[in-house]
């Protein structure tokens, strides 16, 4: 369909001006600077600058801790996505089966989405605090000595739970929307074929939810890679060792705490590359969804 348009030369630019100006000043220019910085070596105060070409990148790739951060990020993202998607899906399926009280349940389940990651980090840090936290105390009763300060496995579990918590609401809502879009006639037809709930789930619900699910996987991965900075900072600070240091946290650590701006910038550029990739995938998925 061709859309009718107005004929105007100047007006569209006037309309675009505010957004383009903000984009140029606060996005493109700083991003360009970060890009340039990634080829430099500089002391923290910016008094001495040397051009090192790809030196910062080479150093990163040779650094076993950077490679381990890549791995930690993958592990953390996949675990968080799996936990929050799985929980969200189970809750959405349960909601489908309840006739009354749907609104109440939804209300009581959506609000964590509104909680800032920084705050959910503080909350879980409090819950898992080794000296006063309630969960280590309960686990001790069960015979497990919880210690996220030393056991990297415990630390990973902690950050995954803290990061998943608020994301469950989000996934839940999308699954509810996805489920309600599945025509009831399909289920009825299947019921006439005497397919039980389990079979119906696997033959109807799951395939028809797949696009929503796939879309959510991408969104969740982006979330875990970027928005969880505050969660990590409030709970484990990337430790013990560097077992919960994800890429975005390392950018912060090396840039803000370590003041190694060149390396931090190079890491930012690599991250940008990853976001571009994920965005492209996301758009592909959205297109497919539209077609579908």
């Amino acid at each position: 369909m061709t859309r009718s348009t107005f004929n105007h030369r100047l007006l569209p630019w006037v309309l675009l001006a505010p957004q383009l100006a903000v984009t140029a000043v606060f996005f493109l220019w700083p991003a360009g600077q970060a890009f340039w910085q990634s080829f430099l070596r500089q002391d923290p105060f910016g008094l001495k600058t040397t051009f090192v070409g790809l030196g910062n990148y080479a150093a990163l790739l040779a650094d076993p801790y950077y490679r381990s951060a890549l791995w930690v990020t993958a592990e953390f993202s996949v675990a968080t996505a799996a936990l929050s998607l799985g929980t969200g899906l189970i809750l959405a399926l349960a909601l489908e089966r309840t006739l009354r009280m749907q609104r109440w349940y939804t209300t009581l389940l959506v609000w964590p989405y509104a909680v800032a990651p920084a705050i959910s980090g503080v909350l879980w840090w409090f819950l898992f605090n080794p000296s006063i936290g309630i969960l280590p105390w309960l686990l001790k009763g069960l015979g497990y000595h919880w210690d996220h300060g030393l056991k990297s496995g415990d630390a990973m579990v902690l950050v995954v739970i803290a990061a998943s918590w608020k994301q469950v609401s989000y996934n839940f809502l999308f699954f509810v929307a996805g489920l309600s879009a599945i025509p009831a006639s399909l289920y009825e037809a299947a019921a006439i074929d005497s397919a039980g709930p389990v079979r119906r789930f696997f033959t109807i619900t799951l395939p028809l939810l797949a696009p929503t699910g796939f879309f959510l996987v991408v969104v969740n991965l982006v979330y875990t890679m970027f928005d969880t900075f505050a969660v990590i900072d409030a709970t484990t600070k990337g430790g013990p060792g560097q077992s919960t240091t994800i890429l975005v946290y390392k950018v912060y650590q090396d840039g803000f705490v370590g003041l190694n701006l060149g390396s931090s910038a190079a890491q930012s550029v690599i991250l940008m590359g990853i976001v571009v990739l994920l965005t492209v995938i996301q758009f592909r998925v959205v297109e497919r969804k539209v077609e579908y």
Partner: protein
């Protein structure tokens, strides 16, 4: 619902109630902690039931704050957060609807370039460009100002895309009719596009309000003057005190207070929020 299966229905309720309990546990404990005195946290485990110090804790935090831990009165910080959240929400909606209008209803040279320039902001989360952005903001003299808190965060591709999507679904006939009546672009925008996208704007508002309120690292970095502190950023300062223990009761009171406004917005505007969430992400 296809058939009755009492057991499955029961199970569903049980699952939902379990889910709600687990999801609420951290907040319950925070609420409890915020009603006790300082001494309840020095050893052993945290209390599970509310204590009697709640009123004192909340009034202290709202009215006085703990200035030496980077926490001026919370009421003032909540006002700053509110200004920031509203500024970001309205700013984003305003600039996005205008640029979406330009992209959908005009043909002009470099239109694709403009579109891609906006699109690219999707790929640059604030975390990866934060130091250079800080420098730009400092050069413009915007440190410690509401403009510095909001403007760098208001450019966003998602809102523009949402409006673009909405405009694309508006039938072409409306545009034709408007032109027949001799309506110029501005009248068309004002009388047709804005009213038609009102619900979308409201939905977007909910999402953006939460986004703005929950900003953490940006306000943490660019505010050095307590007059501009926001509440979410300040909580970290309170929890991280050098050579001393966090004052849990106060920290948790602050946590609860920081959570209330966005949670109220989400619950109060639940329907719009769900709609906004699902549409912005498409």
């Amino acid at each position: 619902m296809v058939e009755r299966r009492p057991f499955l229905t029961f199970l569903s309720h049980a699952v939902l109630i379990m889910g709600i309990l687990i999801v609420s546990l951290p907040v319950w404990l925070a609420l409890v902690a915020s009603t006790h005195g300082e001494t309840a946290f020095t050893g052993g485990t945290i209390p599970m039931l509310p204590g009697g110090e709640g009123w004192r804790n909340y009034s202290t935090m709202l009215g006085k704050g703990i200035s030496t831990s980077g926490a001026p009165p919370l009421a003032a910080m909540m006002l700053n957060s509110l200004i920031m959240a509203l500024g970001i929400a309205f700013g984003k909606i305003a600039i996005s609807i205008l640029s979406a209008f330009a992209i959908v209803y005009f043909r002009f040279p470099l239109r694709q370039l403009a579109f891609w320039t906006i699109f690219i902001t999707l790929m640059l989360p604030v975390e990866v460009r934060i130091l250079p952005t800080f420098k730009v903001v400092a050069d413009l003299g915007l440190l410690n100002s509401y403009a510095g808190l909001t403007i760098p965060l208001i450019a966003s591709a998602t809102a523009t895309f949402l409006f673009r999507q909405v405009f694309m679904t508006i039938p072409n006939e409306l545009m034709e009719a408007a032109r027949m009546d001799g309506a110029g672009p501005w009248r068309f925008f004002k009388d047709i596009l804005v009213p038609l996208s009102r619900t979308n704007m409201a939905a977007l508002f909910v999402i953006l309000f939460i986004y703005g309120w929950n900003q953490y690292i940006w306000p943490l970095l660019i505010t050095t003057d307590a007059r501009f502190y926001t509440i979410v950023a300040a909580i970290k300062r309170m929890a991280d005190v050098a050579d001393a223990l966090p004052q849990w009761n106060f920290v948790m009171a602050a946590v609860i207070l920081a959570m209330v406004p966005p949670v109220v917005v989400v619950i109060g505007m639940q329907r719009l929020f769900v709609k906004g969430l699902i549409e912005t992400e498409k």
